[in-house]
Symmetry: C2
Subunit: 255 residues, 2 copies
């Protein structure tokens, strides 16, 4: 359906560029800790997820180092070369889009999913459960397979193509891959139970339940990323995560 | 988000190929009328929208001529050359995908649309109303502008990119352009009133109303295509259209 067309640099890129300018101007010097996330958010008038994306973009460019539970430190870098790709949508917007669109796809699929497709889903659930103990890449293959079976069950190739495109984007996005890596580093694994609930709703041909469970599952993926990328101490994080949810609670409260 | 990836030929293309084989085998000869749409649908075990797509694909390839109110006739053609593009999703699936995804985008946009964006929408409504009396291309520009302002009001570039991709696909698809042409030939113009209702819901920041009005608007676009591509006499069409709606009523009844 064509490449994502982004006219202006993404918000996190603008923030990252401003932080680079502050580092290069000597305002933040090597070894210094950057201000706390909430302070950066209010300094640039952006949400905290945007700050997380900017910080990880800076980390990828070797401007800073994230020390869990401590803060974000400016590091001396050999290779401060490139600027940030202006095609990278990032995991928050990508997963929000998936929550809305895959929710609707699940609702439509519930009306017409075949026994054969249900059997394929059940098999994929078993793969996911087995592979949760093994390597993460195989698990992710089963995860993608699960979501694509539902997309195809809509019998609408435009819908299938959009959902496949969002998965491709997830794999292509350096920022998204990096943030999912952090989620895995925290020991979080994709929830077989949540996928099973979606499967049960589809099996019952319950469109409304399928929509809500799929949407809820993907909104919890956003929660997982928010928690895993929290820089400050975990205790403090618990309280602060509430604020970051503000923006994404809009999607959550649409029903 | 990558091109639509279609592994097997689209259903309407398979039907079109079978009809070509029947024409080439001499089963249907030049000047003959093809069986009625409902008979073709049951002959190939497909829905009537699929037959419409196949017939228009055959028309584009100069195998047949559609005489409104009479039937589909095999014609002698100088240029029976190409096969049907296997990338063409067609207007039914495309518009169904738009109904689901743009409905959700409108609901999300309702929470956070700005006064500036609302002003742009109001201006676009005026353009649409003025241009309904003038050339259709300018109208379609205003139509697309309206939908893209709402997509961008989600503040989610993945969502914006998907919706823009579906519009691009609509412009790229020969089949879709041809079927919209038929809608215009019937004198149907995009409804300013339906767009105005969506605008009012957004202005009231009513997510549920915005979703339902946007979805309803696009499902009525599907109705318009079904009616405009009806080959048999209008009176008969009225009764038969009911059947064609079966498949798309699934989407309609999801709430």
């Amino acid at each position: 359906m064509g490449s994502p067309t982004v006219k202006t640099p993404r918000l996190y890129q603008q923030v990252a560029e401003k932080l680079v300018a502050l580092i290069e101007s000597g305002k933040y010097t090597v070894g210094m800790r950057l201000p706390a996330e909430r302070d950066l958010a209010s300094m640039f008038s952006v949400s905290r997820p945007t700050i997380r994306e900017a910080v990880i973009a800076l980390e990828l460019e070797s401007f800073v180092e994230v020390r869990m539970g401590s803060g974000v430190y400016v590091i001396e870098s050999r290779k401060r070369k490139s600027r940030f790709s202006d095609k990278d949508v990032g995991p928050f917007e990508l997963t929000e889009a998936r929550a809305l669109f895959e929710g609707e796809a699940a609702a439509l699929a519930a009306s017409m999913i075949t026994d054969d497709e249900l059997a394929q889903l059940a098999e994929t659930l078993n793969e996911m459960a087995c592979e949760n103990n093994n390597d993460i890449e195989t698990h992710e293959a089963a995860d993608k397979k699960f979501h694509m079976i539902i997309a195809r069950a809509t019998n609408n190739s435009a819908i299938t193509s959009v959902i496949e495109g969002l998965w491709d984007e997830r794999e292509r996005s350096v920022l998204t891959r990096r943030m999912y890596q952090k989620v895995r580093d925290c020991g979080v694994k994709p929830s077989v139970e949540e996928h099973r609930e979606v499967y049960e709703a589809l099996k019952a041909h319950n469109a409304q339940a399928a929509r809500e469970l799929m949407r809820g599952h993907l909104m919890r993926v956003i929660d997982g990323i928010l928690e895993a990328t929290e820089v400050e101490a975990v205790e403090a994080a618990r309280n602060q995560v509430t604020k970051c949810r503000e923006r994404y609670s809009m999607t959550r409260n649409l029903y």
